[in-house]
């Protein structure tokens, strides 16, 4: 089964909604972690580790530091998964 963008987005949305206690519908690809979700580096690392565990990808420290939006996080996962 091919993993689609919508699948990864749903995973990210589900994680953030649970951990940050925000409504899922408030989270879109354009949502910014810091400005819109009040998330800090700790929140971001928890998301990164969740994605690493779920999809078997590896996000480096440098890559993690460049993730600014929800869409960025989805991009990093999809870029490492063969189409």
């Amino acid at each position: 089964m091919t993993l689609g963008r919508a699948d990864v987005m749903e995973k990210v949305r589900e994680h953030l909604a649970t951990e940050l206690e925000v409504e899922p519908q408030e989270i879109s690809e354009a949502t910014r972690f810091k400005e819109d979700l009040d998330a800090d580096s700790l929140d971001l690392y928890e998301l990164v580790m969740e994605l690493e565990d779920s999809y078997g990808v590896k996000v480096s420290e440098e890559e993690a530091s460049r993730i600014a939006t929800v869409g960025d996080a989805v991009d990093f996962v999809l870029a490492q998964i063969p189409a």
Partner: protein, 342 residues
């Protein structure tokens, strides 16, 4: 039986103190899984209640904690923390590097739902009396905090004091530069105002640094920068004053005689003030128990760190913290909603 995952590496005084500390804790009926180099832990072979789990990797004080914890998958502290997360152990204890221990615990055990920042708490013995110690938090996990973080620390500390230290109604105070509610940084003043209106805890207002060891409070709340400076100041002052008293007591025969007469009475104070007695700090606000022992722990310190971890698990410290936070409306979302009324 409660099982504690013990980091078998990283103690400043070597594996010998880990071995002796593990044996002492096991003698109390605590089950241990010790993660480390089996060759260094052969003295634990066949010890009742103790299982040595091989862990080839090690993280040192020189390593950057986040990169090391994410990069050294077989490090003893990483495997020990994962053991608790997987439910094979009930609590974590380590006397290894503080940063790596906190990071491994944070990543494996995760934050409690509704907690923005976990806090590192230490037990301060009150020199003038027996009885439960005063809990000081945060002592270094967060150098920059928001007023809402301080409010959450108050709940984390109160729940721990009640559950593990046995204080029925912990008196909670905020560390500042004056007892008046308007004294302090803007963040402290705002936290004071929020705490006055908080439910479920017994907030008694501000205290000053001179009150840290007075025993007038059960939980003292501050940010990690101030808390760390305060803690190190206490430790340094105690050491310096203790050395000066010792020197004075040896300065002439009459003083020496007086010192000898006082020694038995001072023994109890010394024991209470010994960092090994409390077993170290505890990282509060996680979904599991994590005790961060002193790097310089002796065998007694290791054993007491394991005992503190076991007691915290047995007393359901995590569950009781969750209940208190939720019942009092002190979760991250509840406080955010109060700050941003629609």
């Amino acid at each position: 039986m409660t099982t504690v995952a013990l980091d078998g590496r990283g103690a400043d005084r070597g594996p010998e103190v880990i071995v002796a500390g593990a044996r002492a804790a096991a003698a109390d009926g605590i089950s241990l899984r010790v993660f480390g180099d089996p060759a260094q832990l052969t003295a634990l072979d066949g010890a009742a209640g103790i299982e040595v789990v091989p862990a080839a990797g090690e993280i040192s004080n020189d390593d950057e904690p986040v990169a090391a914890v994410r990069g050294v998958a077989d490090a003893s502290i990483v495997l020990a923390a994962a053991d608790v997360a997987a439910g094979r152990s009930d609590a974590l204890a380590s006397a290894g590097p503080t940063g790596a221990t906190m990071t491994a615990a944070l990543f494996a055990l995760r934050r409690l739902h509704g907690v923005r920042r976990p806090a590192l708490a230490v037990q301060l013995a009150v020199p003038a009396r027996e009885g439960p110690p005063t809990l000081l938090l945060d002592v270094g996990a967060n150098t920059d905090v928001r007023p809402s973080d301080l409010v959450q620390f108050a709940y984390l500390g109160s729940a721990f004091s009640q559950a593990v230290l046995g204080v029925q109604r912990p008196r909670v105070v905020l560390l500042s530069v004056g007892e008046e509610s308007k004294k302090g940084t803007a963040g402290v003043v705002e936290a004071n105002r929020a705490l006055v209106e908080s439910d479920g805890i017994d907030f008694r207002g501000n205290v000053e640094g001179r009150d840290l060891l007075a025993g007038s409070a059960d939980v003292i709340v501050t940010d990690g920068f101030t808390g760390n400076v305060a803690l190190k100041t206490i430790e340094g002052t105690a050491k310096t004053v203790s050395a000066a008293i010792g020197a004075a007591a040896r300065s002439n025969p009459l003083a020496a005689a007086g010192g000898l007469l006082l020694r038995p009475a001072l023994g109890g104070v010394r024991r209470r003030m010994d960092p090994d007695t409390t077993g170290g700090a505890i990282l509060l606000g996680l979904r599991g128990v994590a005790v961060v022992g002193h790097g310089s722990s002796g065998a007694a310190g290791i054993a007491n760190a394991v005992r503190l971890a076991a007691r915290s698990a047995e007393q359901r410290a995590v569950e009781r913290t969750t209940e208190l936070l939720e019942n009092a409306g002190a979760t991250r979302s509840a406080m955010r909603d109060r700050q941003e009324p629609e």
